[in-house]
């Protein structure tokens, strides 16, 4: 690889000007002629109830009302808003047991805020006022908030095909004994000198993306269903809507609008089915549906909370002999993503350390909480909270330094990765640990913070993580990219990859510019139209740069090959004897023989005959590049975080003093974008560790579905932070890049928990680690 011209540079992001000036068009900004407005009526009285009567009559009479829809007035088809079923083969789909259990409006309310009806009106205000007139009566049902509640033998069954309210467990057919495992765990524990074991709780964290759900749908005069949405997955949502409304894909079009943050909250469908149901009821009229934040909170998925038990065994010399774990998550009211996270939570565990044997069981239980689904990290933050605290407890008993132990026992090149049978092909975790340790003076501080007695005590802790770039081989990984070379020798890259704000359209453009050897300004990334773009799974699993970038690179290489082939014909030279510089193709060693890309591109489009000779001037045909790209691997990113905290032992308050994040990113295509991901990830990781949780009362009423009482880390809560980018190019990534979208959130979770452990000598087993829990734990320790 020669010197890189665009890759590795902090070029101007494609979206920055429109976002800071307010020019960016979000779905809420889109106005269409004749637009109507929808309001969904939700049950806020109960978390579990049957609707015994629904009176729409008063609402129908309200001013401005066009239609009022109950459960029978919309499609009766059930669906599953998740898209996991579209990412696996039909056989695997059966094995995983995904089911369709959602309906547009329900007469069996299963969570606080479940939808029971809707109004379509000429204004948002009219729709809201009419919605207030809809009267429902309910028969209250018992509320199940945890796995333990839901699995009681006499508990009401959410779905007949899921006995015991067990929505999912690792299926026997693919995972013997319902476990993701290697070795013989019970035998291995017999060899252990030290065994640590505990039961943890991981919290229901919300993505808190800035843009609440906003949608428009229109069933147009060509009988096409259009949906404007800021989805992360336009092509899968197109297919899902086609299935739900029994239309061919040619009659469903997704118009992707600017995405105001995703983090998994827009993975799969959210309110697209409901918005389309409204539009189908008023053909020819666009219907807009805007979620207030409180509603977005309840209808888009959260992180999977639940009980996470873990046991680890070590030999005296530190050898990790066995790890046994079980995650029982509180799935929420519907199936969505019941299988995915239950598996990956264990996959990240399995991918981290060289235990002689390991067994992980993952189970998802229906509960009367709002749904869980994808959230940055997809099970990894949960595992980090538990696994990394257990490792540090083990290290404390072994008398081992947590960094040295991790360096010795983490998995690396050649070891099985998060997916058994797919070995890691790159790993720079040792360098991450060394550089982070040096940056924060780890060794010095570990000594200094021993035996503190003051009211305020400092602590320093580390955590590591492995993640993935794309979900290969568990899930389909595929992106199609077309490159159109214009007659002025600029290029439009057409693909369906969404930019959620993470900067992927910028980095994809850099990959295109570098591959074509064109200036950055000569490239445009075109997205947002499912009629035009070929297949793409969507933005998830830290894949957009790795897989989307792979597709862009391959399609641009196709363009380059065509350019060189045509130049070879024009210059009467072998293509292998040509080189390109400043968009001019030269013959090696003959500086006077050359042709510009501009000439080739122009002649391809404006192809004329020489009137004297009757021959075509140049080679005819507009050049287009194409790739239908399936990545060969999943280029695992690794990362380490070291956190320093100060704990006030009189109040239990924690101040995060400093965070050092060192990540093996393969190659930073755009260092600013990578740092942005690590900064933002750390903000969510700290929140998961210390403040973020969705609370329900005993009746299942959500107590904090808004920013008033759901607390994220704000700018002034953030610690001093250093990001170290370790660039160790992955052999399969575009220019060596790995995915970084999710990595940043993961290790701050465990590192913060471990820093608190280091400061006060007690581990807090429930996330988030609040002052209330710390004070209680300190009291228990003092009383012991």
């Amino acid at each position: 690889m020669g010197e890189l011209k665009v890759v590795g540079k902090k070029v101007e992001r494609v979206d920055v000007r429109s976002k800071v000036t307010g020019g960016a068009l979000y779905a809420a900004d889109v106005q269409l002629a004749g637009m109507l407005y929808g309001k969904i009526v939700r049950c806020y009285d109960h978390a579990h109830a049957r609707v015994t009567s629904l009176d729409l009559s008063e609402a129908v009479k309200c001013k401005g009302v066009i239609k009022v829809l109950g459960p029978k007035d919309v499609t009766q088809k059930e669906y599953n808003a998740s898209v996991l079923d579209m990412m696996v083969s039909a056989d695997m789909r059966g094995v995983l047991g995904d089911i369709d259990d959602q309906s547009i409006f329900t007469d069996h309310v299963k969570h606080y805020g479940d939808a029971i009806a809707a109004v379509i009106a000429t204004s948002e205000e009219a729709a809201e006022r009419a919605a207030e007139k809809i009267k429902a009566t309910y028969e209250e049902l018992p509320v199940y908030l945890t796995a333990d509640d839901a699995k009681q033998p006499d508990a009401l069954q959410f779905r007949p095909e899921k006995p015991g309210n067990l929505a999912f467990q690792l299926p026997e057919m693919a995972f013997p004994n319902n476990a993701y495992a290697w070795g013989e765990v019970d035998d291995s524990f017999a060899e252990a000198d030290i065994i640590v074991e505990d039961s943890f709780y991981v919290s229901k964290q919300k993505q808190c993306q800035m843009e609440p759900g906003s949608y428009i749908a229109l069933y147009d005069d060509q009988k096409r269903l259009n949906c404007w949405t800021s989805t992360q997955m336009p092509k899968l949502v197109q297919k899902k809507l086609a299935n739900l409304y029994e239309l061919p894909m040619t009659r469903v079009k997704i118009h992707t609008t600017v995405i105001g943050g995703g983090f998994g909250a827009r993975l799969g469908m959210v309110l697209e089915p409901e918005t389309c149901a409204l539009a189908m009821a008023v053909p020819g009229r666009p219907v807009k549906l805007l979620s207030p934040r409180e509603e977005d909170w309840l209808t888009s998925p959260s992180r999977h909370p639940g009980k996470y038990w873990m046991k680890m065994g070590f030999k005296k010399d530190g050898t990790p002999v066995a790890c046994d774990a079980k995650f029982e998550n509180y799935k929420g009211a519907y199936y969505v993503d019941a299988s995915g996270t239950a598996f990956t939570t264990g996959a990240w565990l399995g991918g981290m350390y060289k235990f002689d044997s390991l067994r992980y069981r993952g189970e998802s239980y229906y509960t009367n909480q709002s749904i869980c689904g994808a959230f940055r990290g997809y099970g990894n933050p949960q595992t980090n909270f538990v696994m990394e605290q257990m490792v540090d407890r083990g290290c404390a008993q072994l008398g081992a330094d947590p960094i040295e132990w991790r360096k010795k026992w983490h998995k690396t090149i050649g070891d099985d990765g998060w997916c058994i049978g797919v070995p890691y092909n790159s790993c720079a975790l040792d360098e991450c640990l060394d550089r982070a340790a040096e940056a924060i003076s780890w060794t010095e501080k570990r000594v200094k913070y021993k035996n503190q007695t003051g009211v305020k005590r400092r602590g320093i802790g580390v955590a590591v993580m492995n993640h993935t770039s794309g979900a290969m081989p568990m899930l389909l990984e595929h992106t199609v990219c077309d490159v159109l070379l214009h007659q002025d020798a600029t290029a439009t890259i057409n693909l369906a990859c969404s930019d959620m704000g993470q900067g992927s359209h910028t980095t994809l453009r850099q990959v295109a510019a570098e591959t074509l050897d064109f200036p950055y300004d000569d490239i445009h990334i075109a997205t947002g139209d499912t009629d035009a773009a070929g297949f793409d799974i969507g933005a998830h699993a830290s894949r957009t740069l790795y897989v989307g970038g792979g597709a862009v690179k391959q399609a641009c290489e196709d363009v380059r090959r065509q350019l060189f082939d045509r130049a070879a014909l024009e210059l009467e030279e072998d293509a292998s004897n040509l080189y390109m510089e400043d968009k001019i193709i030269h013959v090696k060693g003959a500086s006077n023989k050359s042709i510009s890309v501009q000439t080739i591109a122009d002649q391809g489009v404006n192809n004329f005959m020489n009137p004297e000779t009757g021959e075509l001037i140049g080679q005819p045909g507009q050049i287009q590049g194409y790739a239908s790209f399936f990545p060969p691997h999943n280029a695992p990113p690794f990362g380490a975080t070291i956190a320093e905290v100060e704990v006030d032992t009189e109040t239990g308050e924690v101040k995060v003093i400093e965070l050092v994040n060192a990540h093996d990113v393969g190659r930073a295509i755009h260092p600013g974008v990578v740092e942005g991901q690590l900064d933002g990830g750390a903000q969510q990781g700290l929140g998961m560790a210390l403040t973020e949780e969705t609370y329900f009362d005993e009746k299942g009423i959500c107590l904090n579905n808004s920013f008033t009482d759901y607390k994220m880390f704000g700018p002034s809560d953030m610690p001093k932070m250093t990001n170290i980018l370790v660039e160790n190019p992955d052999p399969t990534g575009p220019f060596g890049a790995k995915g970084v979208g999710e990595a940043g959130i993961v290790p701050p979770v465990g590192a913060t928990a471990n820093a608190i452990f280091n400061a006060i000598g007690v581990q807090i087993l429930e996330a988030p680690i609040t002052p209330e829990k710390i004070l209680k734990a300190l009291e228990e320790k003092n009383n012991a």
Binding site: Y44, E128, E650, T651, E653, L703, S716, E772, L775
Partner: protein
């Protein structure tokens, strides 16, 4: 029901105190007064009873923020939290108030929310209200029959309920001038920096050398209204503030409060930590370090 759309209401724009009072007399409990609006505009989405909003925007004379070494600090109905932070008098003579203003909500809200609005909200978690409670304050209210003064000690009746009558306009607040040796401080605990308090405390100590001759100690988030701690005040009055006394005070606080479990914290935690907070706020007032 969630909502994105504010309800219909009539916006009334009086141009004098007299006009405003007339409007309040007409609409009584069907009217709300708009000064900063940071609470009201949220409430308007859900409150079916507010048909009339009486805005003070065009009423002159309510934006007075004036310090006089004898009469003290006068705060008009339209004075914002941000205004307090711009006042060197507030910073110098009323440190508790200044400290509470500094951490109040967010910069955007501080620019809009009024000091008197915070008092009228009658929240048991109010920050500026708590600081003023410790410093002492007299509200001037006016209706068609004339003006009256109400001591803050008698103003908050229960959660969200005050001694203000529906037809009364709150004109101003007077905080007494500090005597030589007055020291005050405010401290609060929150889940994150930008948050409502989950526990807050403010003190105003009258010091004569090492001796405390009188004290007002107030706490929030430990009852349906902001409260004062008479036992603690008595322990301080006439005493030299020693580490032993501070420990005794810290141990006493729990017996004077009645906190509940809520989304921000638990009764158990508040009972455990309130004493620590009071101890720390006293030390802060006496400039003995601002941390422990």
């Amino acid at each position: 029901m969630t909502s994105r759309v504010m309800r219909d209401f009539d916006l009334l724009l009086p141009e004098s105190v007299a006009q405003a009072i007339t409007l309040l007399a007409t609409h009584k409990d069907k009217a709300a007064v708009l000064a900063g609006g940071t609470d009201l505009l949220v409430a308007l989405k859900f409150d079916y009873d507010i048909d009339n909003v009486v805005s003070l925007a065009l009423v002159p004379g309510l934006d007075v923020l004036e310090f006089d070494s004898e009469r003290g600090l006068a705060i008009g109905a339209k004075v914002t939290i941000a205004d307090l932070l711009k006042s060197s008098d507030v910073k110098e003579y009323y440190p508790a108030l200044w400290q509470s203003a500094k951490v109040f909500a967010t910069p955007q809200l501080r620019n809009t929310a009024t000091v008197i609005g915070n008092i009228l909200r009658a929240s048991p978690a109010g920050d500026c209200s708590l600081a003023i409670y410790a410093l002492g304050g007299i509200l001037t209210l006016e209706n068609a029959t004339g003006r009256r003064e109400v001591d803050l000690d008698d103003f908050w009746i229960s959660y969200g309920v005050t001694a203000r009558k529906d037809d009364e306009l709150t004109i101003s607040l007077q905080v007494p001038a500090p005597a030589t040796g007055q020291k005050s401080a405010f401290r609060r605990m929150t889940r994150v920096t930008e948050d409502l308090s989950k526990l807050n405390a403010a003190v105003c100590l009258q010091m004569d050398g090492d001796e405390c001759t009188g004290a007002r100690v107030a706490m929030g988030c430990v009852g349906p209204t902001l409260i004062r701690l008479p036992k603690v005040e008595n322990m301080l009055a006439g005493s030299v503030v020693t580490p032993e006394l501070l420990q005794e005070i810290s141990d006493t606080v729990a017996s004077e409060i009645n906190p509940i479990d809520d989304i921000r914290s638990s009764a158990e935690y508040r009972l455990k930590v309130a004493g620590v907070l009071v101890k720390r706020v006293i030390k802060l007032a006496l400039n003995e370090g601002n941390d422990q």
